[in-house]
């Protein structure tokens, strides 16, 4: 065991873990976050995405040691200080872009990172980026609408 330090949602954390443990397990089990989800553990579905220094990154295979000194933002860290939602979160609510919601974490995180990087992303750029995220409930068309809405706001 050793202590790895990184910034989680703006606060420094130093969980005492095996450095090879994937970040996802540290976030969920040691740091008790619910946002990032285990979907595949294979970087194929996006359920586990977090913002790693601002970029949406699957956390399920990334050793926690690789986060040393970096900034990790999870779904829990998107809302503003006053509790109001991030525009992307709000757009998902406005469009009711959820069925079971298991994919939601990855969808929101990825959309935030995409729009931060490219605020005018075209519909086809959005589709291309979001292709990494799986939704088994078929909520895609609403998710696209939500991202388009957030893009405008």
């Amino acid at each position: 065991m050793s202590s790895i330090s990184f910034y989680l949602n703006g606060r420094q954390v130093s969980p005492d873990v095996e450095p090879s443990t994937p970040l996802l397990y540290v976030l969920r089990n040691e740091l008790e976050l619910n946002g990032p989800k285990f979907g595949c553990g294979l970087q194929q579905c996006g359920a586990c995405m977090v913002l790693l220094d601002g970029t949406a990154t699957p956390s399920c295979m990334l050793p926690v040691a690789a986060a040393e000194g970096k900034g990790v933002v999870s779904l829990e860290g998107l809302a503003r200080e006053d509790g109001s939602l991030h525009p992307v979160q709000q757009a998902f609510i406005d469009e009711q872009a959820v069925q079971c919601g298991y994919c939601l974490n990855g969808m929101v995180i990825h959309a935030v990172s995409l729009l931060d990087e490219n605020p005018d992303a075209s519909d086809s750029e959005i589709r291309k980026a979001m292709d990494k995220n799986i939704c088994r409930c078929g909520t895609h068309s609403r998710i696209l609408k939500a991202i388009q809405k957030a893009r405008r706001s």
């Binding site: 294979l42 009711q96 298991y102 994919c103 291309k128 696209l144």
Partner: protein, 722 residues
């Protein structure tokens, strides 16, 4: 006291008295180490089986159903809020839990609105009438001057909390046929697109899923799986395992093998390591996906003529059309692998899981572990969307087995992606063969349909542990489930269209893979076959697909549904390389009507040669409780069905299942997702009809008919991209 007697007289029933404590007095909420359980029998005939009036004017609704992502919670809350005149944000819901909620069997078959929501509605309307009449008694004012609003009863200038009226108790009177259903007479909340309240929790990453539950001292487990269904464990090299950090226990019971560790990632590493040290019997899965059709037909089958009617003598002389269709094994493939937590303490077993049927599961787990069922408690907590009977019950049974090994500790078990893909019970493979004749006017004279299928449900409803995956591997050897449910195979097999004569023959085999109920059961394949065949018949008759269907329909609602789809798509022009197609069915021939159209673009590409650009859907589910929820479910069903139809097929070889992840079992992703548009036909005067599975069959047919229109070639075997 006279008050109560008055009601009883009014209602004309024998009951009852008031319970001192509401049904929730003993139930924990949120985090806590152990749930204070109850093994009370819940009588669904009682009003307070379905509702609790809270002291601050809030309302708690109780359902024996589970939230599976289908949005049942908001619909049930809406019907109760309407009858009891409470604002929706003052309503909460308690989902399936043994000893707390009524036993409503399984949350399946699109029946939750028809059953649970209607039970809650009736109980809520009764509760309103009871309250108002009690208040009238109390104040001496006429019932007509009483009004109910957010837990307050307004009587003339006076105002009472409802709990004042019921004196802090609950209405445990029997449910009766209420005089008025506000949803029918006033309809302020029902029929409106109330947003889902659970979304806020999800979007903020609050504890919501069973995967999110954490308990002090909780241990993590993983199961080590054989290579294929029938392989028994021959040998295991256990040396030095116990010395590795984090190791807690290796559990071996017959061929059921699992490991428990302090931390989750340690459990995963142990699972990998133990996997390497096991020697299993080689028991190949028979046949191959390539030769599946001929193999399935060669299997011994339980055959029956399910329906035969009409006049066959007219068949002679007409044009005859024949076609054979097929559908492979497909997966539920939940986005989040199955998960459960269990603890065994003081001879009591408690389980948190995302099962669709907590009561049947409780009884089956009790049988598997040889425990009295009064000592097994199950609380339903939402998981990832399941679309039918996936591994939710299996993982709960496995967690229960493991909890018994280490009493006093919570054991969390989550399957890995590969396990979810390889070990869930799949949607059955089917072969559908049609033969029909047309008269000179192009009307269908005779239609004979023969199908081959696995049964379609192996749920643990009979209490037999063979229906739980670990059951077959334990020393006791509970065996494997029988052939599954025949009724599922013939769901929607009789076409809705009028014909001179019709005959349905079904052949139920026991195929090579583990199967159970997947969204729509046989309806997906039956409607796919029937609706593609209708296009083939229309072509032979020289008719437009819409006109041909309308010429064979008598049911006005079916006709309205198709006509509305026609209007919606009237401006659509298929360009070169594109094709337009439709599909229609009334789910189960008794539930929602659903018509779907698809516009598909084809190209010369090797893969992705057929892309669905747009889909339109029309759904009539009778009285619509929440139009946005209904649209959401229908849109999801259309996209999911497009994915099944275009891409999905479970693969295996002699050594086991080879569709083990999202690359070897691809599904539709964003780049190929159609734009979808759904319209609802609301019929507030009619009873509500189950809707969640209605789009699966029509969507498959619409997609395939569109591809056939684009290419001029009839595609009959799924998936399209083989």
């Amino acid at each position: 006291m006279s008050t109560r007697r008055t009601f009883l007289k009014q209602a004309g029933c024998i009951s009852i008295g008031f319970s001192l404590l509401g049904p929730f007095s003993c139930i924990s909420e949120g985090k806590g180490s152990v749930m204070p359980y109850s093994n009370k029998e819940i009588d669904p005939e009682q009003i307070d089986a379905w509702l609790e009036l809270l002291a601050d004017g809030r309302l708690k609704v109780i359902t024996g159903k589970m939230e599976l992502g289908q949005g049942i919670s908001i619909a049930v809350m809406q019907v109760a809020a309407e009858e009891l005149q409470v604002e929706i944000d003052r309503v909460s819901i308690h989902l399936a839990e043994t000893g707390v909620t009524p036993d409503e069997g399984i949350t399946a078959g699109s029946r939750s609105i028809e059953t649970s929501a209607m039970n809650v509605r009736r109980a809520a309307a009764c509760a309103r009438e009871v309250l108002i009449s009690m208040a009238a008694e109390k104040t001496g004012l006429p019932v007509s001057e009483m009004r109910l609003e957010n837990g307050k009863i307004k009587a003339g200038n006076d105002e009472f909390d409802w709990t004042e009226i019921i004196e802090g108790e609950q209405i445990s009177k029997q449910v009766y046929e209420p005089e008025e259903i506000y949803a029918k007479t006033r309809r302020k909340l029902v029929g409106t697109p109330v947003p889902r309240p659970d979304l806020e929790k999800m979007i903020r990453g609050e504890e919501f899923y069973v995967q999110d539950l954490r308990f002090p001292g909780m241990l993590h487990a993983r199961v080590v799986r054989p290579p294929s269904y029938k392989s028994g464990l021959k040998a295991l090299e256990e040396q030095n395992l116990a010395n590795t950090s984090g190791f807690v226990k290796l559990v071996r019971k017959g061929s059921f093998l699992a490991v428990i560790a302090e931390k989750e990632y340690q459990a995963i590493k142990f699972q990998e390591e133990i996997n390497k040290r096991c020697e299993w019997e080689s028991k190949p899965i028979p046949s191959t996906p390539e030769e599946l059709k001929s193999y399935l037909k060669s299997l011994p089958a339980n055959s029956a003529i399910d329906e035969e009617r009409g006049d066959w003598s007219s068949a002679s002389g007409g044009k005859v059309v024949k076609a054979s269709y097929s559908k492979p094994y497909i997966m539920h493939a939940a986005n989040g692998p199955s998960c459960a937590i269990a603890i065994y303490e003081n001879e009591v077993l408690q389980i948190w899981c995302h099962s669709q049927g907590v009561y049947p599961l409780r009884d089956t787990i009790a049988n598997m572990l040889d425990l009295p069922k009064e000592q097994v408690y199950i609380k339903g907590v939402p998981g990832s969307g399941c679309y039918g009977h996936n591994a939710a019950d299996d993982v709960a049974a496995e967690a229960a087995l493991l909890a018994k090994e280490i009493p006093g500790r919570h054991i969390r078990l989550q399957w890995m992606r590969e396990e979810e893909h390889a070990w869930e019970p799949y949607g059955s493979a089917m072969i559908m063969e049609h033969e029909a004749s047309l008269d000179e006017k192009g009307q269908i004279q005779t239609w004979s349909y023969e199908l081959w299928s696995d049964g379609h449900s192996t749920r643990p409803t009979s209490g037999d542990p063979a229906n739980l995956l670990p059951g077959r591997y334990l020393e006791k050897g509970f065996g494997v489930p029988g052939p599954g449910w025949r009724g599922g195979a013939i769901r929607n097999a009789p076409p809705i269209y009028k014909t001179g004569a019709f005959k349905l023959t079904s052949n139920i085999f026991e195929g090579p893979l583990r199967i159970s109920a997947l969204r729509g059961l046989g309806a997906y394949a039956n409607v796919f076959g029937i609706e593609c065949f209708m296009d083939e018949l229309a072509e032979k008759a020289g008719k437009d697909p819409f006109e041909f269907r309308l010429a064979h329909l008598e049911d006005e609602r079916a006709i309205d549904c198709l006509k509305k789809l026609k209007d919606m798509t009237s401006g659509v022009q298929a360009e070169t390389g594109q094709g337009f197609g439709i599909g229609f069915a009334q789910y189960k021939n008794s539930a929602s009507y659903c018509a779907v159209a698809a516009l598909v673009e084809t190209s010369e590409e090797e893969t992705k040669w057929a892309v669905v650009k747009k889909m339109w859907g029309v759904i009539d589910s009778g009285e619509c409780i929440n139009p946005d929820g209904l649209k959401n479910q229908t849109e999801g069903g259309m996209i999911q069905s497009a994915s099944w139809t275009l891409l999905e097929q479970v693969k295996w070889d002699a050594n086991g299942i080879t569709s083990l992840d999202w690359e070897t079992y691809p599904m539709l992703r964003f780049e190929e997702i159609p734009v979808v548009e759904v319209e609802v036909i609301d019929r507030p005067e009619m009873p509500p009809l189950g809707a969640g599975e209605a789009a699966q069959g029509p969507s498959a047919a619409a997609v395939v008919n569109a591809i056939s229109a684009a290419t001029g070639n009839r595609l009959r075997d799924l998936p399209v991209n083989r």
